[in-house]
Subunit: 131 residues, 2 copies
Amino acid sequence: MPPISDGILESALYVDDVGASARFYEKIFGLPVMVDFGPRGCAMKAGERQVLLLFKKGASLSIQSPHDGDGELHVAFAIPAAELERWEAWLAENEIPVEERTTWECGGKSIYFRDPDRHLLEIATPGVWPF
Amino acid sequence: MPPISDGILESALYVDDVGASARFYEKIFGLPVMVDFGPRGCAMKAGERQVLLLFKKGASLSIQSPHDGDGELHVAFAIPAAELERWEAWLAENEIPVEERTTWECGGKSIYFRDPDRHLLEIATPGVWPF
Protein backbone atom coordinates (compact mmCIF):
# COMPACT_ATOMS: atom_id res chain seq x y z
CA MET A 1 0.00 0.00 0.00
CA PRO A 2 1.47 3.39 -0.95
CA PRO A 3 1.59 5.91 1.90
CA ILE A 4 -0.28 9.15 2.43
CA SER A 5 1.84 12.07 3.68
CA ASP A 6 0.22 13.06 6.92
CA GLY A 7 -3.50 13.03 7.04
CA ILE A 8 -6.22 15.06 5.50
CA LEU A 9 -5.30 17.90 3.14
CA GLU A 10 -8.80 19.21 2.34
CA SER A 11 -12.12 19.09 4.17
CA ALA A 12 -15.25 20.49 2.61
CA LEU A 13 -18.39 22.14 3.92
CA TYR A 14 -21.42 22.94 1.76
CA VAL A 15 -22.97 26.29 2.60
CA ASP A 16 -25.86 28.55 1.61
CA ASP A 17 -23.89 31.81 1.41
CA VAL A 18 -20.18 31.43 0.63
CA GLY A 19 -19.39 35.05 1.48
CA ALA A 20 -21.07 34.91 4.85
CA SER A 21 -19.39 31.61 5.70
CA ALA A 22 -15.97 32.83 4.59
CA ARG A 23 -16.37 35.95 6.74
CA PHE A 24 -17.36 33.73 9.69
CA TYR A 25 -14.30 31.48 9.39
CA GLU A 26 -12.03 34.46 8.80
CA LYS A 27 -13.42 36.41 11.77
CA ILE A 28 -13.78 33.59 14.28
CA PHE A 29 -10.85 31.31 13.36
CA GLY A 30 -8.58 33.72 11.50
CA LEU A 31 -8.53 31.55 8.36
CA PRO A 32 -7.59 33.54 5.23
CA VAL A 33 -9.20 32.91 1.86
CA MET A 34 -6.44 31.31 -0.23
CA VAL A 35 -8.25 30.69 -3.53
CA ASP A 36 -11.58 32.13 -4.68
CA PHE A 37 -13.64 29.82 -6.92
CA GLY A 38 -16.16 32.56 -7.66
CA PRO A 39 -19.81 31.63 -7.04
CA ARG A 40 -18.83 27.98 -6.54
CA GLY A 41 -16.94 28.63 -3.31
CA CYS A 42 -13.51 29.27 -1.89
CA ALA A 43 -10.54 27.59 -0.24
CA MET A 44 -9.46 28.81 3.19
CA LYS A 45 -6.02 28.13 4.61
CA ALA A 46 -6.53 26.13 7.79
CA GLY A 47 -3.11 25.71 9.35
CA GLU A 48 0.22 25.21 7.65
CA ARG A 49 -0.75 22.48 5.26
CA GLN A 50 -4.53 22.14 5.39
CA VAL A 51 -7.46 23.56 3.52
CA LEU A 52 -11.07 24.17 4.50
CA LEU A 53 -13.15 24.23 1.34
CA LEU A 54 -16.44 26.13 1.39
CA PHE A 55 -18.71 25.18 -1.48
CA LYS A 56 -22.03 26.77 -2.35
CA LYS A 57 -24.67 24.05 -1.99
CA GLY A 58 -25.56 22.59 -5.36
CA ALA A 59 -22.88 24.48 -7.27
CA SER A 60 -20.44 21.58 -7.79
CA LEU A 61 -22.88 19.14 -9.39
CA SER A 62 -22.00 19.85 -13.02
CA ILE A 63 -18.19 19.77 -12.82
CA GLN A 64 -16.13 16.84 -14.09
CA SER A 65 -16.05 15.11 -10.70
CA PRO A 66 -19.26 16.26 -9.05
CA HIS A 67 -19.75 16.49 -5.31
CA ASP A 68 -22.26 18.12 -3.03
CA GLY A 69 -23.53 17.88 0.48
CA ASP A 70 -26.41 18.78 2.68
CA GLY A 71 -27.08 18.66 6.38
CA GLU A 72 -25.32 19.90 9.48
CA LEU A 73 -21.84 18.46 9.06
CA HIS A 74 -19.11 18.25 11.67
CA VAL A 75 -15.58 19.65 11.69
CA ALA A 76 -13.19 20.02 14.64
CA PHE A 77 -10.21 22.32 15.05
CA ALA A 78 -7.33 21.66 17.44
CA ILE A 79 -6.56 24.39 19.96
CA PRO A 80 -3.80 24.61 22.60
CA ALA A 81 -5.06 23.65 26.08
CA ALA A 82 -3.94 27.02 27.44
CA GLU A 83 -6.27 28.84 25.03
CA LEU A 84 -9.55 27.27 26.11
CA GLU A 85 -10.56 30.16 28.38
CA ARG A 86 -9.69 32.73 25.73
CA TRP A 87 -11.81 30.77 23.25
CA GLU A 88 -14.77 30.79 25.66
CA ALA A 89 -14.44 34.57 25.97
CA TRP A 90 -13.98 35.01 22.21
CA LEU A 91 -17.13 33.03 21.40
CA ALA A 92 -19.09 35.02 24.01
CA GLU A 93 -17.74 38.30 22.62
CA ASN A 94 -18.97 37.24 19.17
CA GLU A 95 -22.34 36.12 20.55
CA ILE A 96 -21.83 32.54 19.42
CA PRO A 97 -23.72 30.26 21.81
CA VAL A 98 -21.84 27.24 23.14
CA GLU A 99 -24.00 24.17 22.58
CA GLU A 100 -21.99 21.64 24.58
CA ARG A 101 -18.85 21.35 26.68
CA THR A 102 -17.21 17.95 27.15
CA THR A 103 -14.24 16.64 29.11
CA TRP A 104 -12.94 13.41 27.59
CA GLU A 105 -11.38 10.30 29.15
CA CYS A 106 -7.88 11.27 28.01
CA GLY A 107 -8.28 14.69 29.68
CA GLY A 108 -8.99 16.75 26.57
CA LYS A 109 -11.78 19.28 26.48
CA SER A 110 -14.14 20.15 23.64
CA ILE A 111 -16.48 23.06 23.06
CA TYR A 112 -19.21 22.77 20.42
CA PHE A 113 -20.95 25.56 18.56
CA ARG A 114 -22.52 26.28 15.14
CA ASP A 115 -21.43 28.06 11.98
CA PRO A 116 -23.92 30.08 9.86
CA ASP A 117 -25.27 26.87 8.25
CA ARG A 118 -25.53 25.15 11.63
CA HIS A 119 -22.56 22.92 10.80
CA LEU A 120 -21.39 21.57 14.14
CA LEU A 121 -17.98 23.01 14.97
CA GLU A 122 -15.75 21.77 17.74
CA ILE A 123 -12.60 23.21 19.22
CA ALA A 124 -10.63 20.57 21.05
CA THR A 125 -7.58 20.69 23.29
CA PRO A 126 -4.97 17.90 23.23
CA GLY A 127 -6.24 14.77 24.97
CA VAL A 128 -9.49 14.33 23.11
CA TRP A 129 -7.96 11.47 21.13
CA PRO A 130 -5.41 8.83 22.16
CA PHE A 131 -2.49 10.50 20.34
CA MET B 1 -8.57 36.25 18.45
CA PRO B 2 -7.30 33.13 20.22
CA PRO B 3 -5.28 30.79 17.97
CA ILE B 4 -6.03 27.33 16.68
CA SER B 5 -3.14 24.85 16.88
CA ASP B 6 -2.60 23.76 13.35
CA GLY B 7 -5.63 23.21 11.26
CA ILE B 8 -8.37 20.67 11.22
CA LEU B 9 -8.40 17.92 13.83
CA GLU B 10 -11.52 16.01 12.72
CA SER B 11 -13.33 15.69 9.40
CA ALA B 12 -16.54 13.71 9.13
CA LEU B 13 -18.18 11.63 6.43
CA TYR B 14 -21.71 10.24 6.69
CA VAL B 15 -22.02 6.73 5.33
CA ASP B 16 -24.56 3.98 4.72
CA ASP B 17 -22.50 1.09 6.08
CA VAL B 18 -19.89 2.03 8.70
CA GLY B 19 -18.19 -1.37 8.58
CA ALA B 20 -17.82 -1.33 4.81
CA SER B 21 -16.50 2.23 4.84
CA ALA B 22 -14.06 1.54 7.65
CA ARG B 23 -12.77 -1.50 5.76
CA PHE B 24 -12.37 0.66 2.63
CA TYR B 25 -10.34 3.37 4.40
CA GLU B 26 -8.29 0.77 6.24
CA LYS B 27 -7.56 -1.24 3.10
CA ILE B 28 -6.97 1.60 0.65
CA PHE B 29 -5.40 4.27 2.87
CA GLY B 30 -4.11 2.19 5.77
CA LEU B 31 -6.09 4.19 8.35
CA PRO B 32 -6.63 2.22 11.58
CA VAL B 33 -9.87 2.42 13.56
CA MET B 34 -8.95 4.34 16.72
CA VAL B 35 -12.30 4.51 18.52
CA ASP B 36 -15.44 2.50 17.79
CA PHE B 37 -18.73 4.33 18.48
CA GLY B 38 -20.76 1.16 17.89
CA PRO B 39 -23.62 1.50 15.40
CA ARG B 40 -23.14 5.31 15.31
CA GLY B 41 -19.75 5.12 13.62
CA CYS B 42 -16.03 5.13 14.25
CA ALA B 43 -12.97 7.35 14.36
CA MET B 44 -10.05 6.48 12.10
CA LYS B 45 -6.54 7.77 12.70
CA ALA B 46 -5.60 9.82 9.63
CA GLY B 47 -2.00 10.86 10.11
CA GLU B 48 -0.23 11.79 13.31
CA ARG B 49 -2.75 14.24 14.68
CA GLN B 50 -5.87 13.96 12.55
CA VAL B 51 -9.07 11.99 12.64
CA LEU B 52 -11.44 10.86 9.91
CA LEU B 53 -14.85 10.30 11.49
CA LEU B 54 -17.25 7.90 9.80
CA PHE B 55 -20.82 8.34 10.98
CA LYS B 56 -23.77 6.17 10.02
CA LYS B 57 -26.22 8.44 8.20
CA GLY B 58 -29.00 9.58 10.51
CA ALA B 59 -27.47 8.05 13.65
CA SER B 60 -26.20 11.29 15.24
CA LEU B 61 -29.46 13.21 15.21
CA SER B 62 -30.54 12.49 18.77
CA ILE B 63 -27.28 13.20 20.61
CA GLN B 64 -26.71 16.37 22.64
CA SER B 65 -25.13 18.25 19.72
CA PRO B 66 -26.75 16.67 16.69
CA HIS B 67 -25.15 16.55 13.28
CA ASP B 68 -25.75 14.63 10.09
CA GLY B 69 -24.98 14.82 6.43
CA ASP B 70 -26.07 13.58 3.08
CA GLY B 71 -24.67 13.75 -0.41
CA GLU B 72 -21.37 12.98 -2.05
CA LEU B 73 -18.93 14.95 0.09
CA HIS B 74 -15.31 15.71 -0.69
CA VAL B 75 -12.12 14.91 1.22
CA ALA B 76 -8.51 15.07 0.02
CA PHE B 77 -5.44 13.31 1.36
CA ALA B 78 -1.89 14.55 0.82
CA ILE B 79 0.54 12.10 -0.76
CA PRO B 80 4.26 12.46 -1.54
CA ALA B 81 4.91 13.37 -5.18
CA ALA B 82 7.12 10.29 -5.58
CA GLU B 83 4.19 8.00 -4.69
CA LEU B 84 1.78 9.07 -7.42
CA GLU B 85 2.61 6.16 -9.74
CA ARG B 86 2.34 3.64 -6.93
CA TRP B 87 -1.04 5.14 -6.04
CA GLU B 88 -2.23 4.73 -9.63
CA ALA B 89 -1.16 1.08 -9.55
CA TRP B 90 -2.70 0.55 -6.09
CA LEU B 91 -6.08 1.94 -7.18
CA ALA B 92 -6.01 -0.21 -10.33
CA GLU B 93 -5.09 -3.29 -8.28
CA ASN B 94 -8.11 -2.62 -6.06
CA GLU B 95 -10.36 -2.01 -9.07
CA ILE B 96 -11.12 1.56 -8.02
CA PRO B 97 -11.79 3.60 -11.16
CA VAL B 98 -10.03 6.95 -11.43
CA GLU B 99 -12.62 9.59 -12.24
CA GLU B 100 -10.30 12.51 -12.98
CA ARG B 101 -6.61 13.40 -13.12
CA THR B 102 -5.56 17.05 -12.80
CA THR B 103 -2.25 18.91 -12.94
CA TRP B 104 -2.49 22.25 -11.13
CA GLU B 105 -0.88 25.63 -11.76
CA CYS B 106 1.58 25.20 -8.90
CA GLY B 107 2.68 21.83 -10.35
CA GLY B 108 0.78 19.55 -8.01
CA LYS B 109 -1.17 16.58 -9.29
CA SER B 110 -4.51 15.21 -8.09
CA ILE B 111 -6.29 11.94 -8.70
CA TYR B 112 -10.01 11.67 -7.94
CA PHE B 113 -11.99 8.54 -7.15
CA ARG B 114 -14.98 7.41 -5.07
CA ASP B 115 -15.47 5.68 -1.73
CA PRO B 116 -18.32 3.18 -1.14
CA ASP B 117 -20.83 6.05 -0.65
CA ARG B 118 -19.53 7.85 -3.73
CA HIS B 119 -17.88 10.50 -1.57
CA LEU B 120 -15.34 12.19 -3.84
CA LEU B 121 -11.83 11.36 -2.67
CA GLU B 122 -8.71 13.09 -3.89
CA ILE B 123 -5.08 12.24 -3.41
CA ALA B 124 -2.90 15.25 -4.03
CA THR B 125 0.86 15.74 -4.30
CA PRO B 126 2.54 18.91 -3.00
CA GLY B 127 1.90 21.87 -5.28
CA VAL B 128 -1.87 21.68 -5.46
CA TRP B 129 -2.11 24.67 -3.08
CA PRO B 130 0.14 27.71 -2.74
CA PHE B 131 1.88 26.48 0.42
